[in-house]
């Protein structure tokens, strides 16, 4: 299992622990992550301003994947959604395909569409498989009560990213269950974290996070687990600073799995988490 690693922008800028823990977990499960030089932003935050620019930015990345001869994996669901969507659009629309390729030609790049883009969670489920992941768990985290949070872009729109049923998602739940942790269901499981409106209306974004955190608190979870660096940022960095009395520890899924695989907290970058993870580390005897 060899993939080019598409970083995205949020992870290196704000959530390096996600990349760190992802690399460690990948190594344990036999997934090889190949460095992809020259990667650019997927264009997600350019779309609202200019769809065409965003499309060609994404197309350039897709061309890089094709040139590598490998499929690509990313930790960020927004990149995953954006690149998947652009790839589908280019393969369906011959005119656009030609237009984009003629522009890419001027810099010696070519989009073919042979490489697929995957999110790390889908690689775990589809390529590694539940059995193998379960086998890698040496320290079941049975004392932890975990509230899973999928975020929006890994599940929707289901007509582009067909990973799981957005109305009743189960895959992350299953992945968490493999670590031995207890799953906590909460009323606002499907509610968006609000990160992407933070720049426009901070209060609005905090209201969404607040509602989610209240629901998680009511359900009695010790820790939240995310698969998206933006969601993590929202609950760790933003809520950690602005909603202190509601914020609870937030782990990237790869951090949770890593702990269950016997990796140390520092190996998994837990020191980078702004909301202190000391309490939960104590619960699993890993202080």
């Amino acid at each position: 299992m060899k993939y080019v690693f598409f970083q995205g922008c949020t992870t290196p800028q704000k959530e390096n622990a996600y990349e760190l823990s992802m690399r460690k977990v990948a190594a344990k499960l036999g997934i090889e992550l190949v460095t992809l030089e020259e990667q650019n932003c997927c264009g997600f935050f350019v779309e609202p301003v200019d769809h065409l620019s965003a499309t060609i930015m994404a197309a350039r990345d897709l061309a890089l994947f094709d040139a590598s001869g490998l499929n690509a994996v990313t930790p960020c669901p927004a990149c995953y959604g954006q690149l998947t969507r652009v790839r589908n659009e280019l393969l369906a629309d011959k005119k656009l395909f030609d237009e984009v390729n003629s522009a890419l030609k001027t810099v010696d790049r070519k989009f073919v569409g042979t490489s697929e883009i995957k999110h790390f969670m889908t690689v775990l489920i589809d390529e590694v498989g539940m059995e193998k992941i379960k086998a890698s768990v040496v320290k079941p985290l049975s004392n932890l009560k975990v509230a899973p949070f999928y975020g929006c872009h890994i599940l929707k729109p289901s007509y582009e990213v067909n990973t799981d049923n957005p109305e009743d998602p189960q895959l992350l739940d299953s992945l968490i269950a493999l670590t031995g942790a207890k799953l906590v269901d909460y009323g606002e499981k499907k509610l968006c974290c609000g990160q992407s409106v933070g720049g426009v209306d901070e209060e609005l974004s905090l209201n969404l996070s607040k509602t989610k955190l209240k629901s998680i608190k009511k359900a009695g979870a010790d820790v939240m687990v995310t698969v998206c660096p933006a969601c993590h940022m929202q609950f760790d960095l933003v809520a950690g600073a602005k909603l202190r009395d509601l914020a609870i520890p937030v782990l990237h899924y790869t951090q949770l799995l890593g702990l269950a695989q016997g990796l140390s907290p520092s190996e998994l970058g837990l020191g980078e988490n702004r909301v202190s993870t000391d309490a939960i580390l104590e619960m699993i005897g890993m202080v």
């Binding site: 049923n165 109305e167 009323g187």
Partner: protein, 674 residues
């Protein structure tokens, strides 16, 4: 070729349908130049009375013996013109129809010059064929005055009653142990608020008592072959392990039976015994043993019902039976199935106890339902003071694939809401809707009545339901589009107004009867406006929800229409057969049986003739599809009215180059079987 062909050609304008694109006058002028064409005219509406009179007059004056009309599709008016031929004293098979509308003017609207050229070519092909047409005998065969009605719901029962009244012998087949269908499950009917079973049970009893009706319940149709007037049917009578002739319906067996099973009639909201009658007013009033739950069948013990049955009606050894039947026509009235909203996870049907479907609700408030008519909610049996309906669940929805409107849900919700408010004026009732479709007689008045009773109508469909884990109360968040605000309502119970879907097993039925389904999955009528109860197959009719979602009055009307259709077909006791059928030249037939292997109507059999085995085509069963004629390796079979000569003449008229080479034409001179 008989005598000198004297052909009359009529190019129809069809108003502007044809003449707006095709230069009809030019085509008529062109046709006049063709050999053997005596008269060539263009006319505005050839199928009209004056148009037909004109043709008749021409036949007489000009001694025409062939007629060609270039107009719409033969599927529209070929029968009309064939009748005209008879009135004019000519054999109907000397008529040829050219389609210059559906196949020309309507599809080439942007290219009038080419369309006109195409019309000329089509007409010259028709003239070439017309010269070679031969008169065919119009025959009639005896038709049985008996009918198979499939489905014992309101539509099937009504059709059976109407036909039995006219002295047709009816066999009514129902797959459940009793007739009744979904109407029997309803509490009240809109807009009159009649008690459903009260108005229905007399019909159920009537149909069971009528001497012209044979009721086969717990049975399914397995095979149907043959043709209108003479269908051969095989029905599988599944064993109910109770002798129908002996059982008096006393119910002692059920009272003693130790096994409980979910009662399907009550939407699994209540229980029944393993030996049961689906509902108290069931017809026939005979019990049935459910093999899946009965202790004798599952574990080989018990048999307590047999012990207590005074009529000695229990029979564990009962086997399935095949009933063979010959009928003249079939009425399909297999109804619908309710949509199961479990797949729409946002409503959590099945998980949230107080979310029920509209059909569940009918059983809950029914006097003979699991709660004996007391309105209580499933989670804790408490009275639900705040109730909401969510409309269009599963219907009008690209996500479920049922993009049609299910017709009855608006009125059904209003009916249920009115029922609740009349009994409990203090309850708050909400209907969250997309549209309110109150189209029928008395419906708009009924909608008014609902508003009079303070039913809250909210224009805005809720996105999802939220449950309070302690109280099991539900919260709806929806937008009221008129208010322009998102509103939140706490409720004790939510009712999902589900739609209708085609029943399971409909694909088997379409295969057995060889009738088509529409894009929505329901059975397809022959013409949506003019032939709503016919199927494309002569002798098979549709009635009720199997043709598409509809309410009781519409189902009854269709049932009566289907019965009338059957009577129109069979009342003379004979049916006209198709004259354009296949015929075998026994001298050439080599007995290879390729034709038999291909004939899907089972119309060809081997017979000993002149000392060898030759194929013989049944005049009654042959549908004139032509597959045998095209496959026959020795060219022994020809299709009357579509002989090789006639078809090749058409092709040659279009393109002489195509007919240069190998295909033998002139030498094949089939002598017809007399």
């Amino acid at each position: 070729m008989i005598e000198n062909p004297r052909i009359g050609v009529y190019i129809c304008h069809c108003g502007l349908n044809i003449s707006a694109t095709v230069d009809v006058k030019a085509v008529a002028t062109f046709a006049q130049t063709l050999p053997d064409v005596v008269v060539s005219r263009d006319y505005k509406y050839t199928c009209s009375d004056p148009g037909q009179e004109m043709i008749k007059k021409d036949v007489k004056e000009h001694k025409l013996n062939r007629i060609i009309v270039a107009a719409c599709s033969p599927r529209m008016h070929e029968p009309t013109y064939r009748k005209l031929m008879e009135e004019a004293g000519l054999n109907p098979y000397l008529f040829e129809m050219v389609n210059i509308r559906e196949q020309d003017s309507w599809v080439h609207m942007q290219e009038p010059a080419k369309a006109t050229q195409k019309a000329k070519e089509l007409v010259s092909m028709a003239v070439a064929r017309s010269r070679l047409l031969e008169p065919l005998e119009v025959k009639e065969v005896p038709a049985l005055k008996s009918v198979l009605v499939i489905g014992g719901g309101i539509a099937g029962i009504q059709a059976a009653l109407d036909l039995a009244e006219q002295d047709y012998k009816v066999c009514l087949v129902e797959k459940q142990p009793t007739i009744g269908g979904h109407m029997a499950q309803l509490d009240k009917t809109f807009p009159t608020m009649d008690c459903s079973i009260c108005i229905f049970a007399p019909k159920m009893v009537d149909v069971s008592k009528n001497p012209n009706v044979t009721l086969l319940t717990n049975s399914e149709v397995q095979e149907v072959s043959g043709v209108a007037g003479n269908f051969h049917v095989k029905i599988l009578k599944k064993p109910r392990f109770v002798n129908e002739k002996k059982c008096v319906g006393c119910g002692v067996c059920a009272s003693k039976c130790p096994v409980k099973a979910p009662n399907e009639f009550d939407m699994n909201l209540g229980m029944r015994k393993a030996v049961y009658i689906p509902f108290p007013q069931g017809v026939p009033a005979v019990y049935t043993i459910d093999k899946e739950h009965c202790l004798y069948f599952t574990k080989g013990v018990c048999k307590i019902c047999e012990k207590f049955c005074e009529a000695k009606a229990i029979d564990f050894t009962q086997k399935e039976q095949i009933v063979d039947l010959d009928v003249g026509a079939v009425v399909v009235a297999t109804g619908f199935e309710p949509f199961d909203p479990s797949s729409l996870k946002e409503f959590q049907y099945g998980k949230f106890k107080n979310v029920v479907t509209s059909l569940d609700f009918e059983r809950l408030i029914s006097a003979f339902g699991p709660k004996e008519g007391k309105l209580v909610r499933p989670s804790d049996g408490k009275e639900p003071h705040r109730i909401a309906f969510i409309q269009c669940v599963g219907s009008r929805d690209e996500r479920t694939g049922n993009i049609y409107c299910s017709n009855i849900c608006c009125m059904s919700a209003i009916k249920q809401a009115v029922l609740i408010k009349e009994k409990h004026p203090d309850y708050e009732v909400y209907i969250f809707y997309n549209d309110i479709r109150a189209f029928g007689k008395g419906f708009e008045e009924f909608y008014q009545r609902a508003r009079d009773l303070w039913v809250n109508f909210v224009k805005g469909i809720p996105a999802e339901l939220v449950e309070d884990p302690d109280t099991k109360n539900l919260t709806i968040r929806a937008v009221d589009l008129v208010l322009g605000k998102m509103v939140e309502v706490d409720l004790d119970m939510v009712i999902l107004s589900i739609g209708m879907i085609p029943p399971k097993g409909i694909q088997d039925l379409t295969r057995i009867l060889r009738i088509p389904r529409g894009a929505d999955g329901f059975l397809l009528e022959a013409h949506p406006k003019l032939r709503p109860v016919d199927t494309p197959t002569l002798g098979i009719f549709l009635a009720g929800a199997c043709q598409g979602p509809k309410d009781i009055p519409a189902s009854v009307a269709q049932a009566k229409a289907a019965a009338s259709g059957v009577a129109s077909l069979l009342s003379r006791g004979k049916i006209r057969t198709e004259s354009s059928i296949a015929v075998v030249n026994e001298d050439f037939c080599s007995g290879c049986k390729v034709c038999i292997s291909l004939c899907k109507y089972d119309a060809i059999k081997m017979n000993e003739k002149k000392g060898k085995q030759v194929a013989t085509v049944s005049e009654v069963t042959c549908m004139g599809c032509g597959v045998c004629a095209s496959a026959c390796p020795t060219k022994s079979i020809s299709l009357r009215h579509f002989t090789d000569q006639q078809i090749l003449a058409q092709i040659r008229a279009l393109s002489p180059e195509l007919c240069q080479s190998s295909v033998t034409t002139e030498q094949v001179n089939i002598k017809e079987k007399t």
